[in-house]
Every structure is written in C-alpha cells, then in structure tokens.
Symmetry: C2
Subunit: 422 residues, 2 copies
C-alpha cells in the first residue's frame, strides 16, 4: 500500500468512526427531534436550490462530455421540479410514524421476568448506489427517521450533486440536536474505498447496494458485513386459461408501458395455450400500438406475428419497451418458468380460477405475488409502507419494499426483580 | 480439480438439488401433516435407541483414541436419557404453533387491492455445526416445523451418530406425505465441501453456522449466501452503585455457576467504585466458594484478593469457572467497556436506580439487555419462543434466540380485480 492509498483508507475509517459515534447519539433521538430536523433539512435544501442546481450542472456537463447516454443524463439532472419532489419526499418521511421504540411484543417470563421485544435502529448503514442524486436525500431522510447514521457512497457521475445535497443536510443538522455526521457523503468514489468500507465489520452494521446487478453481486461477494441487495426485477405476468381478456390487456399494458424503466415493470409474458388464440392477440396489439417490441417462442409467434425470442430473452431485464412472450400448457409450467428465470421480485397471474390463483401465490417464491393486478404496485408508498430505500429481493430481514421499519432491528429488554434461572 | 474432488462436489450439488425439490414440496405441507411427521420421527428414534447408541459408540471410541478432551467426549455421548431428551424436544416442537401461513399484516391498497403479508418458509437451510449430535435432531425438527428443508453438516467427530439420526428421520419421513429428503445429513465432512455448499447461491437460502467463533467467521467470510451466525457470548454483569447486594450476589452466582459452559453465562463482572467496598466482597466470596477462579484489575484486587487480569481477559469467553472483574466509575464507563469488548449477546445491570437502568438498556447494543436478572434467561424456551436453533448475535433478520418463527420469511399476496397503477 502506498501513502496515498493509506491516507484514503484512513479517511474512510474516519468516516466510519464518525458514523459509529453519531449512531450512538441517534439512538437517543426523540421522535419530535427527528421530525423537526427533517423539516429543517427540507427547508434548507429548498432555499439552496440554486446552489444545488449549480453543482448539479457540473455533473451534467461532465456526463455530456463523457458521452453518457441521454437516458442516464436525464436521470442525473436536478431541476426545480425534481428538487421540489425531493424535499416533498423528505417532508413525507418527517410525517411518518416513528418506528423506533415501538414495543413489538411483551410477555411474562419465568418468575415474573418482564420480556419486551423493542424496535431499535440498526446502527450504521452504508449505502452504495448509482446515478440519481435524489437517492442521497431519500436515503438520508429514511435513515434519520429510523435513528440510524448513514454513509452514502453514490456514483462518480453524480458526485458534485451528492456532495452538495450532503453538505446542506449536514448544515441543517448542525442547527438541531442531532449529530451532523449522522449523514455523510463519501467524497472519493475510488472503488477500492468501497471495498474497504464494506470490510469494516463491527463499525458498519449493514450494507445496502442499489443499482446494477453486477455492482450488487460484487458487493455481496466482497462484503464482510451483512448485505441487503436491491437487485433486478425480472417480473412475469401469466395469463391463465380462464383469464378475463380485458383485465389481461389492461394489466399487461400498465405493467409494461406505464413506466418501463423500473424494476416492477413486466419483462416476460406467459400465456396458457388455450388463451393464446383469443386473448393474446388483443393484449399484444395494444402493446405494439404503444411501440413495444415483441419477441416470442414458436407458439407465441403462431398466435401473433413477432420476432423469435432467443435463449437470452428469458433472462433479460429490458427496462424498456420490449417484452418476451411464451406459451405454456399449465399454471404449473408457468410457475416453473418463473422459478427458473425470475428474480423473486414481482410476478402476477391473470385468472378467474381460484385454485390456479392459490397455486400461483403459494408456489411462486417472490417478494410480491399478484392475482389480477399490475406488478407496478410493488412500491413502498403504494403498499402503505411510505417512502422506500429500495426493494429487496432477498429473503432475510426485509423482502420487497424496504421502508423505515425495515431499517430497524429489535432487542429484548429483560426487566427483573432478582430472577435467577433454576 | 481431480476426479475425486469433482465427484465429491457433484454429490453435494445433488444434496442441494434434493433439498430444493423437497423445499418446494414442504411449502405445501399442512400443519397436521408436519405435526404427525414429527411425532413419527420421535417414535422411530425412540424405538431405534439401541441402533443409535451403537453407532454413537463408534464416534465415542474414536474420540477416545484420538485423545479428545473429556468434556468434548461427554458432549458426544448419547445415552438413553439423552435420546429421551432429544425425542421430548421433537415432541415439543410438534406441539408448537405453526408459524407458516400466518397473516402478519393486512391492508387495502390503491383501488381496493388487497395486500397481505404472509409468513412463508425460508426454503433451503444449510446448517454447519460442531460436536453434540442431538443438534441434528433439534435442527431437523425446527426446520420441518417451519416448512423448510435442511442440509445438516455436523462435525466429523459425531459423523456416525449424526448419520444414524438422519437415517431414521428419513425413514420416519418416508412413511409420511412429507419428502424424506427434506432432512439430509452430509456424509462427507471434508471442509472443502462446506465451502462448496455455502457457494450454492440460488439453491441454498440461508447458512446457519453454530459452533466456535473461528468456524463462524470462516463461514461468514466465504459464504456467497446470507449467514446467521450463532457466535460467542461474552456476557457482562454490571453492579451499579445503587445495587441490592443480595440480588447482585444471587444473580452473578447464577449467571456464572449454574451452567458455566454456555453462551449466556457471565464472563466479566463490572462494579461501580462505590459498590466495590461493600457489595463486591460478598459477591466474590460466594463465587470463590463454588470454585470460581477470579482475575481483576487493580481496583478490584484492592477490594478482594485475586490474580491480576491480563489484557486478554476482557475479550475472553471462558466457558468455565473463571470470571474477570473490573471496577468502573459510572454506568457510562460500564456501557463503554461492554460496547468495546462484548459480543452483543446478553448483558445485565444490577441497580435500584431507574434512570441508570434505562440508560443501560438503551445504550448496550446487545440482543438481550437485562435489569436485575440473570443473563441465563437468554434462551428460546425461557423466553417463550419454544425450542431454538441457536442464538443470533447479529442484527439482521433474527436477533437473540432463533425459534421456528425466525426460520421463516414473508411474502406479499396482492389480490386484485384488475387494478392498474395510475
């Protein structure tokens, strides 16, 4: 290790140390303190909108010079509307119920020992994410609300924007009783530093990667700290033989077209062979009219003209106006396909048959399983959890949308009067 | 890789594949099916007690020949009493409430979408453990009750015992509607195979290591699958200045002497300087009379004659009749010591002061924090969770005793009538 590397590691260690100290103070933060602090942050970010836009422009210019695709540049841009939506989000989090301190369960143990399961913060959260700078504000608000401290490491393309947002969050916090360093944006986006950060076991309690599948995989493999990955959404809709054609067309259209670039959009349509003749053409026509590119297996192509699907299509998260279509002979076959190629995120069946609905819900091993509704509802605010830090497609701790409550853990308070074990 | 290694890896892959197939069948298992199967297992193990003891003797003989310490050999032995206690445990699990299928929460989403948070099994559990063969039966029962399939990889010293127990569990299961291969004992204790097993992402859902700290650390670092480690218990008791002397003496005695070899026994005693003169000698005398070896810091030695504690003592889990003693000047200093050296397992304060009690409970970041009771209550059955697969000292998913409920996750059932997102 050369001197520069050593200094960089020391810096990230310092950031982690600040986070640990802040997290201990955050544990004691009262509900109204947190609420007031969040409102203060929203106010300051609003009043500093011009400064934020100025710093954001540096990122946008650089992205243009580097020839980043237009879609990515668009995600990067912070205008007044987006800053407003960011601060609205923070105010929304401010108003949410405080999860910390809630008594989850209470029971009497041996000899009258009082056992209380109490909700407490996780401690120090390290979040590694890409692109959109508004995630910096969202994540900070959710972590503060759940009394955690957070280390935010965004992508290099949004560094100036993220640092500006982080700077004003700290400035707002410094006028409150909460520790300013409970929110820290990492200044150096060197990848080696992420590896160092996710090795700081005993300091960082949980790592949340949010972004590309590859990034999440790398972090999961390298981390010495528990990880909750917010990965890809390869969502399926299966049109059963008893499906209502109109519902099928509306739901598939909504799940594909309403916002194709998100993780809860549908990527593969499965259709029962009995529905391929009458229901499928109507469903696909509506999609094609909206500009959706279709690829299908042989039988799907027999029912509607489209390009052939390649083997890779079944594992592809298009995140755009493209859909793969496959004909199956039973709900069982549909479930098998989903279990083989899916990402355990959100999958739906369209059916009027209760038994097939039940079979699908029980046997598709995904965070959200739907019957007769669009997969687009997999979302913290749609599901009543409030704002979300991401959508987990792993099974431990948090599954599906991860809101403030999922950013907590619990501990047992054991209140005795001298009890000993016999 | 040579042919032998390849064959071995193929075998463990085969085991994992069986587990995946079994876990899909287990998902559909009804509560009474599971209950009946567990009772059948208990009955068969009882009727095969002689066979089990015969196979166990092979392990015990080998352990004697290898010169294993007497304490380890004792842990290995299965006699009638221990087999009875093992099958009693299985019957107890049989009678427990079925956690699977429980509706955790229910709410109405947009447009009348019914959102149900339902408890479901984790899927495939891989458990890696050491020594005591009864863990094989305990873990199998808990995993079956929670509708999971389990791959059990015990220590080589108990291989014959574990295989015998596993064999009879499968025999009992084959007479039920549950898949026999939902419980599999790994026949080859080659370490490389564990590394292979914990790399089978997408097949194994969770890895539970239970045993030495070193083993847990190795598995946590190497696993590509989420791990819940059941690690060491370096538990503290802090005697506050307002402590009741009698309570202090009884609690410390119970926490150290009643069963010193377990993770919830106390290892370090912290005492407020004002209590060092009057309360401490009585506490320590009682321990010394019971054969406890004492080591202390300078001020502890001033209050009671004992050997000096070395630096290592504060990080040592003795698991035996030894205790380190340190004098501190405030509850704050006690908490700092615990946060620095503790294992986030179980820590207690003895105090008559409400404020100090509250400070301790809120600031010691352990799974179980006690006020005026023995740390020995950190135990699934004592805490009303029923039998436990272990005690987690990590924060994600399960903290403290991990019973059948902690062996489950949840999914969302989203029941619609055609809802789309606007």
């Amino acid at each position: 290790m050369n001197t520069e590397e050593m200094e960089k590691k020391e810096k990230i260690f310092e950031v982690a140390k600040n986070a640990v100290i802040s997290s201990r103070q955050m544990r004691k933060a009262g509900s109204s303190q947190k609420k007031d602090a969040l409102v203060k942050i929203a106010e300051l970010l609003e009043s500093k909108a011009d400064d934020i836009k100025f710093r954001n422009e540096i990122d946008v210019e650089a992205a243009r010079e580097d020839g980043l695709p237009e879609a990515l540049i668009d995600r990067l841009i912070l205008d007044d509307k987006r800053i407003k939506s960011m601060t609205d989000g923070i105010r929304e989090v401010a108003e949410m119920e405080d999860p910390v301190g809630q008594i989850i369960e209470e029971r009497e143990g041996p000899g009258g020992l009082k056992i209380r399961k109490v909700r407490v913060p996780l401690g120090v959260i390290a979040m590694v994410y890409e692109s959109r700078p508004n995630v910096t504000a969202d994540a900070a608000a959710l972590c503060l609300k759940s009394s955690n401290s957070v280390i935010l490491r965004g992508g290099s393309e949004a560094l100036n924007s993220n640092l500006a947002i982080g700077h004003f969050i700290q400035e707002a916090l410094s006028e409150t009783e909460l520790p300013a360093k409970s929110v820290q944006v990492v200044e150096d986006t060197d990848r080696e530093l992420v590896n160092h950060l996710i090795s700081l076991k005993g300091m960082v309690d949980i790592v949340i990667p949010r972004g590309s599948e590859k990034m999440i995989e790398t972090i999961t493999e390298k981390s010495k700290i528990p990880v909750i990955g917010h990965g890809k959404g390869l969502c399926h809709i299966y049109i059963d033989e008893t499906a209502d054609g109109q519902k099928a067309a509306d739901i598939v259209f909504n799940a594909k077209v309403q916002r194709p670039g998100v993780c809860n959009a549908v990527e593969t349509l499965l259709v029962h062979s009995s529905a391929a003749g009458d229901i499928l053409p109507g469903v696909l026509k509506k999609l094609e009219d909206a500009g959706v590119e279709l690829v299908g297996d042989e039988r799907a192509k027999d029912a509607y003209e489209m390009q052939p699907a390649s083997k890779e299509d079944w594992s592809s998260e298009y995140l755009g106006l493209k859909l793969s279509v496959k004909v199956v002979d039973s709900v069982r076959e549909a479930v098998e396909h989903i279990e083989r190629f899916g990402s355990h995120h959100s999958d739906a069946i369209i059916t009027e048959d209760k038994e097939n609905c039940g079979y699908f819900l029980n046997n598709v091993d995904s965070a959200c399983v739907y019957c007769n509704a669009s997969t687009r509802f997999t979302d913290g605010s749609q599901m009543g959890l409030g704002a979300e830090i991401g959508i987990s497609n792993q099974k431990l701790h948090a599954r599906g949308p991860m809101g403030v409550r999922e950013l907590t853990t619990y501990k047992y308070h054991m209140m005795g009067t001298g009890q000993v074990r016999t």
